[in-house]
């Protein structure tokens, strides 16, 4: 339920986007920040509140829609992209967001994620990656690192984790980005970039699960080390990072290597980020850079234009109607041999 705005708001504030439901995540959960930043990001888009729809699966993260005063649909585990796809085909006018977790989106729901991405349905898929199943009280997930000890892996997990961005890129994604729960400005900006992308946008957010996986992303969030372990991508700029911004990524054949600037290594020698590259090889390579061997990349890895699924389908409908006129039931019924009994 919701309170009705008496006059249409000229611009939204984050508060307008808050529902009346108590937020029920654990104290200290990274989801709080994502919720706050989402409201901030959407408020500035100039889209009226009623045009937003949040669709989620099941998980702590998937409770998200209840807290947004927009239309929302908390569906079943792993299937949110399918509901979003149907909705978007029916209603291209809506801004449709999918909220999912590493379990919801990559374990049970991996296939739907891939297919929504490859079809380039114009939906924004936000994956809260806390490398754990939060809601079911802490089993390892498909993104948990090898050795993660949980209730279901007391001797440590033995499964190779998936890299969400690698999978998305492997599935022909047109937009992929990564950000962090605690980097509030970057988070807001990234969500906004996703909102502006026309097509399937896939955003991975590193999110801290305070209760079952506290601190897995500390290398990227701890003030004292994060500058050396993270690299913020900027389109057209060389890949530079480090506390003193004196480290960079250079290409050695097809492999990235960390180099220190100076001593004959100049910014010009570094890999230049190109989010618009036609082929996703660069984005893929960046998605493979993993701490501690490399700094991990944040920002927009890839953003290219391609027609959306629903636009193409609707165009087929329009084309045929333009060419042949709208269909009449009478004609359709008679579209086989007919005979008259009198």
């Amino acid at each position: 339920m919701s309170t009705v705005a008496t006059t249409p708001l000229p611009t939204l504030t984050p508060k307008d986007l808050s529902s009346d439901q108590d937020v029920r995540w654990c104290p200290g959960c990274g989801d709080y920040s994502i919720l706050a930043q989402m409201k901030k990001a959407l408020a500035g888009l100039g889209i009226p509140r009623e045009k937003f729809v949040f669709i989620s699966g099941i998980g702590c993260s998937s409770r998200f829609p209840y807290y947004m005063n927009t239309y929302g649909f908390h569906t079943i585990h792993g299937r949110a992209p399918t509901f979003a796809t149907g909705l978007k085909i029916a209603r291209p006018d809506l801004s449709v967001w999918v909220i999912t977790g590493d379990g919801d989106g990559l374990s049970i729901g991996g296939n739907h994620l891939i297919h929504a991405i490859r079809r380039n349905v114009d939906i924004k898929i936000i994956l809260f990656n806390n490398e754990i199943y939060g809601l079911t009280k802490g089993q390892y997930s498909p993104t948990s690192r090898i050795g993660t000890r949980t209730k279901s892996s007391p001797q440590g997990s033995v499964e190779n984790p998936l890299r969400p961005l690698s999978i998305a890129i492997g599935a022909e994604a047109t937009f992929v980005a990564r950000t962090l729960d605690v980097d509030v400005n970057h988070l807001t900006d990234t969500l906004r970039r996703a909102a502006f992308h026309k097509g399937a946008a896939f955003v991975e957010i590193y999110q801290n699960c305070k209760i079952f996986n506290d601190g897995v992303f500390e290398y990227a969030t701890d003030k004292s080390v994060k500058a050396d372990n993270t690299l913020y991508l900027e389109h057209g700029k060389p890949l530079i990072f480090g506390k003193d911004r004196n480290k960079g990524i250079r290409l050695k054949g097809l492999d990235p290597e960390v180099v220190t600037l100076g001593n004959g290594v100049a910014a010009d020698d570094l890999l230049i980020h190109d989010e618009k590259a036609e082929e996703p090889s660069l984005a893929y390579l960046l998605s493979r850079m993993v701490y501690p061997r490399f700094p991990e990349c944040f920002g927009v890895f890839r953003a290219v234009e391609r027609p959306t699924y629903e636009a193409l389908i609707n165009k087929q409908v329009e084309d045929v109607i333009r060419a042949k006129g709208p269909g009449k039931l009478e004609e359709l019924f008679a579209s086989d041999d007919i005979w008259v009994v009198s």
Binding site: T82, L87, L94, V317, A334
Partner: protein, 633 residues
């Protein structure tokens, strides 16, 4: 032949010494069952379809049954590769494609082997004798040639060297030998047209339209058809010609329709009646794929088809489309229904309209994918976790698929509920004449969407009307922002609620809402006496066999009636009362007794089942004998 010959006259054709048309007797019959059978490559489906059209246009009542091989292309000439098409045409109302075949046309030994068992004793067997070479016989696992070993003595065998005659007729057309041979189905068809006095013109017209761009083929098929016809007229192989007079059929414009076609047309029609975009979400599966194919061709009618990555995605997308205010429909067969069950449960909880089509096939598991069965009834009713009531309807004939899918849409939209339509392979692929309805006379489906708060300036998504139905508020409507989901919801507000009493209340409301549908469906009617010794009650595609069997038994003086449940959940309100008016109740089903369990459990009547699980519909005679067994004769 099953019906009695009534008149004997001379054929009108002139008599000649030789070479010209010969004199033939003409016998008049009520109904006839013809089956064409040959290799998948022999064009039997085409021959059957043309025969059906010609018969329908002539004015007979018709019912058909195609029979495909399970393999895409089994090796030519093998038993696995046999394809058949059966037509029952009649001067009376008929409801089934017929039990026994009166005239069987076989194009090769494999077709003979797999089809002979269905030919009545004394029936006419037209054999393409050219195809009984040693090699052909071996492929069909024949040890000796049945045309020579006397094994066919119970039938009236007519050997026709179809290959030779067809080649002869087409010899001066510039076509490859293979192309020429592919016309032989038209030769066979022409011969049978002559035998049953069918008009050639509809088929000739079809050939002209179909092959307009290929004059050689056009000419070849035309000639093959006529050659076959003339062969019948000219030779003395057939002493008798048969005539099946026109049926007394309700006046109007007709076409032949399969259940899957009718389902597709019904969906488009429903979408126009309710003024909603039809979004059909499906993952291909036999025997449901043809609905997807048909709808994919209907973009002109605003239809969107979504070929999903699997059945879960299909049902998810359909629910998503419904959430957005479209007509979300998903279709599959039994294994697909398994996969959709979790999401259907969600639709129950969020109370959105959803239509789910299950074109049932032989099970369990992959089972007999190309065969028919009725074994998903209990799955449709109960195959979900928790108390998860949905409406279930089932068409009773191919054409009824049109009406019942519209009913499914109407119920889904008016009650904000999932509705499962149980079709089956027999209904889906079988065809019958369909009286084309007057579009303007079809009742609209009125729907409204709220645009304003409904409760003290707030919008309560789970506020209900007197029928217990909640409102369908669409995303994009300012001020009605709300959230729905699969967790139990608080009455009225729709907020998540773990309250025990609220849960019980909501479970009972959902059940009552579905039960309320019974207020808006027709009562169960009976065919036959209002009370008596036996009621034969069925559902789905068994309608034709049951009705025919009961009518026959009644003609023999038995006090037996039939009833057919097109609404399985809820059932018509008078169901229990109807059941109790008969001394005994028989429930024929193509399963192990699923409706039977429901009727016994709900109404506590000592009904008995007649069960057939052979991937095939009931023969009329099977039901008839059971009637006699139960109440003597």
């Amino acid at each position: 032949m099953s019906s009695v010959a009534r008149s004997v006259e001379e054929s009108p054709s002139e008599s000649h010494e030789r070479g010209g048309p010969v004199r033939h007797r003409v016998e008049e019959l009520d109904s006839v069952v013809v089956r064409f059978a040959g290799d998948s490559g022999d064009g039997m489906q085409l021959a059957g379809t043309q025969f059906t059209n010609a018969s329908a246009i002539f004015g007979n009542d018709i019912s058909t049954l195609p029979d495909f091989p399970a393999e895409i292309r089994a090796p030519a000439g093998t038993l696995a590769g046999v394809s058949g098409f059966q037509i029952n045409f009649s001067s009376q109302d008929i409801y089934t494609p017929g039990d026994l075949v009166n005239t069987l046309v076989v194009m090769n030994p494999a077709a003979l082997k797999t089809n002979l068992k269905d030919l009545e004793k004394g029936g006419l067997l037209i054999v393409n004798s050219d195809a009984f070479t040693f090699n052909d016989l071996r492929k069909a696992d024949y040890a000796t040639n049945p045309l020579e070993d006397g094994s066919l003595s119970a039938y009236r065998v007519i050997k026709v060297p179809i290959n030779t005659l067809n080649r002869e007729a087409l010899k001066d057309i510039r076509l490859s030998p293979r192309e020429v041979d592919r016309c032989k189905n038209f030769f066979a068809l022409g011969l049978v047209y002559w035998l049953y006095e069918r008009p050639l013109e509809p088929t000739l017209r079809w050939i002209r339209e179909k092959f307009a761009k290929n004059p050689a083929i056009l000419e070849a098929n035309t000639r093959a058809l006529k050659a076959g016809y003339n062969f019948g007229e000219t030779t003395e192989l057939f002493p008798v010609q048969y005539r099946v007079p026109k049926a007394h059929i309700k006046p109007g414009t007709y076409r032949k329709i399969t259940g899957n076609e009718a389902t597709a047309l019904g969906l488009v029609t429903a979408s126009i009646l309710c003024n909603k975009t039809l979004i059909y979400c499906s993952y291909p599966i036999t025997p449901a794929s043809d609905i997807l194919h048909a709808l994919a061709e209907m973009r002109r009618y605003g239809v969107r088809t979504f070929q999903a990555e699997d059945e879960i995605a299909a049902v998810g997308a359909a629910i998503g489309a419904s959430f957005g205010g479209a007509l979300g429909v998903t279709g599959s067969s039994g294994p697909g229904l398994c996969l959709k069950s979790e999401a259907i449960g969600l639709a129950v909880m969020v109370e959105l309209p959803l239509v789910v089509i299950d074109v049932q096939r032989g099970g369990p598991s992959t089972g007999l994918p190309t065969k028919t069965e009725q074994a998903d009834l209990l799955q449709a009713l109960f195959g979900r976790n928790g108390e998860s009531p949905v409406a279930v309807v089932a068409p009773c004939s191919p054409a009824d698929c049109f009406d019942m899918i519209i009913e499914a849409v109407r119920i889904a939209l008016r009650f904000m509920t999932p509705v499962i339509l149980l079709s089956d392979g027999y209904l889906g692929n079988g065809a019958e004449p369909w009286l084309i309805p007057d579009v303007n006379a079809l009742p609209r489906i009125e729907i409204s969407h709220p645009t304003k708060p409904n409760h003290d300036g707030q919008f309560m998504p789970y506020l209900r009307d007197e029928r217990l139905v909640r409102q369908w508020a669409l995303p994009g409507t300012p001020g009605l922002e709300h959230r729905i989901g699969g967790l139990e919801k608080e009455d009225v507000t729709g907020n998540v609620s773990y309250d025990p009493i609220n849960h019980e209340k909501m479970v009972r409301i959902r059940a009552q809402k579905v039960a309320n549908i019974a207020n808006e469906i027709p009562p169960l009617s009976v065919n036959g006496p209002e009370e008596g010794d036996l009621l034969v009650i069925g559902w789905g595609g068994t309608f034709g066999s049951i009705t025919t069997a009961v009518n026959r038994a009644r003609r023999k003086g038995l006090k037996v009636a039939s009833a057919h449940l097109r609404y399985l959940n809820p059932m018509p309100k008078n169901t229990g009362e109807v059941l109790r008016r008969y001394k005994r109740v028989l429930v024929p089903e193509l399963n192990c007794g699923q409706l039977l369990l429901l009727l016994r459990g709900r109404y506590l009547v000592d009904a008995v089942g007649l069960n057939k699980i052979q991937g095939k519909p009931f023969l009329v005679s099977e039901i008839e004998s059971e009637i006699y067994r139960l109440i003597g004769s």
